[in-house]
């Protein structure tokens, strides 16, 4: 048993087994981040297929059925394989260092949460090579497309979702236990960095809704294989029931994919504005309000299914209410920058772009919340533009900002600032050229999930595809930056950024394998 104890003092194990058997939060964080990056490139490849097919009107490259498989797999892989694991990876790396804990609360469970994912995605992507083809019913897998009319690979899709859900629930339990139980003495709740706060609330959302997702795919499984009639009106069920249960999961899910991003931006903007975050308390309360509201707005995804008018009105007003706490956040970020001594290193560029472009995605969200207007926008490219604005320059920019911001702490080297800025500007231009024209396409009536379209949509689709290729290619720069940074570069100091605050910056760079085996000096913990 003494070996276990001595473990605190030596470094990582040698060889490949380190990565399979590790219980170290930093190792597991890196695994999550690399896995997420791989999935980002895979899902991105599928997106390139989609944009290549839509480059011109007519059917050029792929069969319509394969196109549907691409849209489905692109969505599933980006949501469950890229964005969510990236945030969990950041949580693993950062939360213990931010709250002064020696590791995550349940290190072995932590390893399990990660290692479930590669297998789940292996099973999901293997359906592409099966005779029946991959799932083709969209990432929202509405019944009866996903039940009565589904390819037989839907069974593997269902079990893959179960396992991803199990992974998320275990990861979230670990994060909550870590935050509630492992804070260093003096780290009171209202002294926690916002990234920790937003993850605490995100983890709560995950535990609340991932089981509901498991429930809905279980109902699908039984409808497909055991003759139940949950989603079949002939037996007294209702296909709309699927949408209600799915979106009861799905709406909190979209906040799961943005709240940790809010936390990241709230860490980066004060550093490069060299001011304290404006309105810390209100940020915490706004995050909690958004989480609460996320449970009572789900049916705004289904305004056109024929709900009673009272339902349409309730979900419209409740949805618009979300603009209030979100507005509080945007105001606070802008107020933090106001009269700050700002510099524009790559993380700050991504963070500012986040504030501007996420807000734009938020505004189109408000437009979509208006029930009568949504009758027009529903299932058009306007919706595609809206959620890609909140997810790409929103969630994904925040993840990239985090990667640049904390890379020196992880690797001990400064990244290549010139390449970083190149990556930012190409991504920034690419993402706008890619998604901005899609607003116009949607308003003009182009439906989503189509492999071909009417001629009047040709110009904007052509522009959008060019933007897509630019954005896709620029992500390879990030890969180069990260590899270069791991291999070498200017030595990073412990502080790294002049204006950075928080416990992780009191550790040397790269952060030692085991940190805070004894709690940090309470004097290092500052008011927010």
């Amino acid at each position: 048993m003494s070996a276990a104890h001595d473990d605190h003092h030596h470094g990582p194990a040698k060889g490949l087994s380190r990565w399979f058997y590790t219980t170290n939060h930093k190792d597991i964080g890196s695994l999550y981040l690399w896995f997420s990056f791989a999935m980002f490139l895979l899902g991105g490849t599928f997106a390139m297929v989609i944009r290549a097919e839509l480059f011109q009107p007519g059917l050029q490259l792929v069969e319509p059925s394969f196109f549907n498989q691409m849209t489905t797999m692109h969505g599933l892989i980006m949501v469950f394989g890229a964005v969510m694991p990236a945030f969990v990876g950041l949580a693993n790396w950062l939360i213990p260092m931010m709250i002064g804990a020696p590791d995550m609360a349940l290190p072995r469970l932590n390893n399990w949460s990660f290692w479930l994912l590669p297998f789940a995605f292996l099973m999901l992507t293997s359906t592409l090579f099966m005779d029946a083809g991959a799932p083709n019913f969209g990432w929202t897998f509405y019944a009866p497309l996903s039940t009565t009319y589904a390819p037989e690979t839907v069974t593997f899709f269902i079990f893959a979702v179960h396992i991803m859900g199990a992974s998320s629930i275990m990861g979230s339990i670990n994060i909550i236990a870590t935050i509630l139980n492992m804070r260093a003495p003096g780290m009171t709740l209202m002294k926690m960095p916002l990234f920790v706060w937003t993850w605490l609330i995100t983890a709560y959302l995950l535990i609340a809704v991932m089981p509901v997702l498991a429930g809905v795919v279980t109902m699908m499984l039984f409808d497909v294989h055991f003759g139940t009639s949950f989603f079949s009106a002939a037996g007294g069920g209702d296909p709309i029931l699927f949408q209600h249960v799915f979106w009861f999961f799905g709406h909190p899910e979209v906040y799961i994919m943005i709240l940790p991003g809010f936390g990241i931006v709230s860490a980066i903007i004060p550093t490069f504005a060299r001011k304290r975050l404006f309105g810390y308390d209100s940020m915490v309360y706004a995050t909690a309000s958004i989480a609460f509201l996320s449970f009572i707005v789900w049916a705004h995804h289904m305004f056109t299914v024929g709900m009673p008018i009272a339902g349409e009105l309730f979900f419209m007003y409740a949805t618009m209410l979300i603009a209030v706490p979100t507005g509080v956040k945007v105001f606070n970020w802008v107020a933090t920058m106001f009269r700050g001594s700002m510099t524009f290193e790559t993380p700050m560029l991504f963070a500012i772009a986040f504030v501007v472009l996420f807000t734009m995605g938020g505004f189109t969200g408000l437009m979509l919340a208006i029930t009568p207007a949504d009758f027009q926008y529903h299932d058009t490219y306007f919706v595609v533009a809206h959620f890609h604005y909140v997810l790409v320059p929103g969630s994904i920019f925040s993840i990239m900002a985090a990667a640049y911001y904390w890379l020196p702490k992880w690797t001990g080297h400064m990244y290549d600032e010139r390449l970083g800025k190149l990556h930012f500007w190409m991504s920034f231009i690419g993402v706008n050229v890619l998604f901005f024209p899609q607003h116009f396409l949607g308003l003009a009536g182009m439906p989503r999930r189509v492999p071909d379209y009417a001629l009047q949509f040709a110009d904007f689709n052509w522009i959008s595809s060019i933007g897509g290729f630019l954005f896709g290619a620029s992500q390879l720069i990030l890969l180069v930056v990260v590899i270069k940074c791991i291999k070498g570069g200017k030595k990073a100091t412990a502080q790294v950024w002049e204006g950075a605050q928080g416990l992780e910056w009191t550790l040397e760079s790269p952060a030692p394998y085991h940190t805070f085996t004894t709690p940090p000096d309470p004097k290092l913990i500052h008011d927010q």
């Binding site: 048993m1 276990a4 104890h5 473990d7 605190h8 194990a13 087994s17 380190r18 399979f20 058997y21 219980t23 170290n24 804990a101 020696p102 590791d103 609360a105 290190p107 072995r108 469970l109 290692w115 297998f119 789940a120 292996l122 069974t155 593997f156 079990f159 396992i163 979230s172 909550i176 236990a177 870590t178 492992m182 535990i207 609340a208 809704v209 991932m210 089981p211 509901v212 429930g215 809905v216 279980t218 109902m219 039984f222 294989h225 055991f226 003759g227 139940t228 009639s229 949950f230 079949s232 009106a233 002939a234 037996g235 007294g236 069920g237 209702d238 029931l241 009861f248 024929g306 085996t517």
Partner: protein
């Protein structure tokens, strides 16, 4: 060793092979199971897929057994600080919350079907046009003895609801007895806990045995009920939405009772081996929380599936 048990150091386990093998076991289980289901649907042989599923499940079960053994050994070796034990407490509490939400999805489906889908199919209210256009003959009566389309989904001839509100009926009503059994078992597991805290090992073992026996009895009654439903009532998984909600809600609950009974039997074995101390028995406590949770879900089921 002394410092590992103190409050200053949180025990971070060294490398472990358990999780990755558990992942492999789990993925083989579900891949095998999925293949079995697809094979059956395509009328193909299932031998190979079944073997994969069984191999995966055995691997998973073996690994989980190892995993729990290691955790128990570490605790006995005094490596778990009070803080680490609190992590387990939080972990179990949030796990139970996730289970609550899993059942909430099915209760929600039942609520939606009874209050919206079925009445609309019966032609009620502003959305009643659905029923008028699709199946104008269909009457919205719960439980559904006639389905909207009896041709597609053969309806049951009898439901599991309360036929008459008389003592005579309830005396022969299995769900009623199952409610009493589970409520009693919640009390007996509490008595076991009290005995454990009072260092009364005989009491602990006796009360825990009674609890396990009650769990088994519940399951026996449920098997009788299901046999009755399939054999005499024509109430099956594919007999329409009443059967769908009935079997998935009671079935997943029954699955949880099975798991809970198994966990309690493990706790019984551990009690006999003398694993628990009055101030250190979280394994037992977690099992009893789980049991109380299963009990509460049943009370919800009894009201919403059987009585109302």
């Amino acid at each position: 060793m002394a410092s590992a048990g103190s409050h200053e150091t949180y025990y971070v386990p060294e490398q472990t092979k358990l999780p990755i093998y558990a992942s492999i076991g789990l993925i083989l289980t579900v891949f095998g199971l999925g293949s079995v289901l697809n094979n059956i649907k395509a009328s193909e042989g299932t031998t190979f897929s079944t073997l994969i599923a069984i191999a995966g499940f055995l691997l998973l079960a073996f690994i989980l057994f190892q995993w729990f053994s290691i955790v128990i050994r570490e605790n006995h070796a005094g490596m778990n600080s009070d803080q680490l034990k609190r992590s387990y407490v939080w972990g179990m509490a949030w796990f139970i919350f996730s289970e609550v939400m899993f059942f909430a999805a099915f209760f929600g489906a039942l609520f939606y079907v009874r209050n919206f889908a079925v009445p609309w199919l019966g032609g009620e209210g502003g959305k009643g046009a659905t029923g008028e256009f699709l199946w104008p003959e269909f009457q919205a009566v719960w439980p559904l003895i006639e389905n909207p389309s009896n041709a597609v989904f053969t309806p049951p001839h009898e439901a599991m609801d309360v036929k008459e509100w008389t003592p005579g009926f309830f005396a022969a009503y299995l769900p009623f007895w199952n409610t009493l059994i589970l409520l009693t078992s919640s009390v007996t597991v509490h008595f076991a806990h009290t005995a454990l805290k009072a260092e009364n090992r005989r009491g602990l073992i006796q009360w825990l045995s009674v609890t396990v026996a009650l769990g088994v009895l519940f399951l026996v009654f449920q098997v009788i009920e299901y046999t009755e439903a399939y054999g005499h009532y024509g109430l099956t998984l594919d007999s329409g939405i009443y059967g769908s909600t009935f079997f998935l809600l009671t079935g997943f609950h029954g699955f949880h009772v099975t798991l809970g009974t198994f966990i309690l039997s493990v706790m019984l074995a551990r009690s006999i081996k003398g694993h628990f101390k009055p101030d250190d028995h979280f394994g037992f406590e977690a099992a009893s929380w789980y049991w109380h949770f299963v009990d509460v879900v049943w009370v919800g089921l009894f009201f919403f599936v059987y009585l109302l």
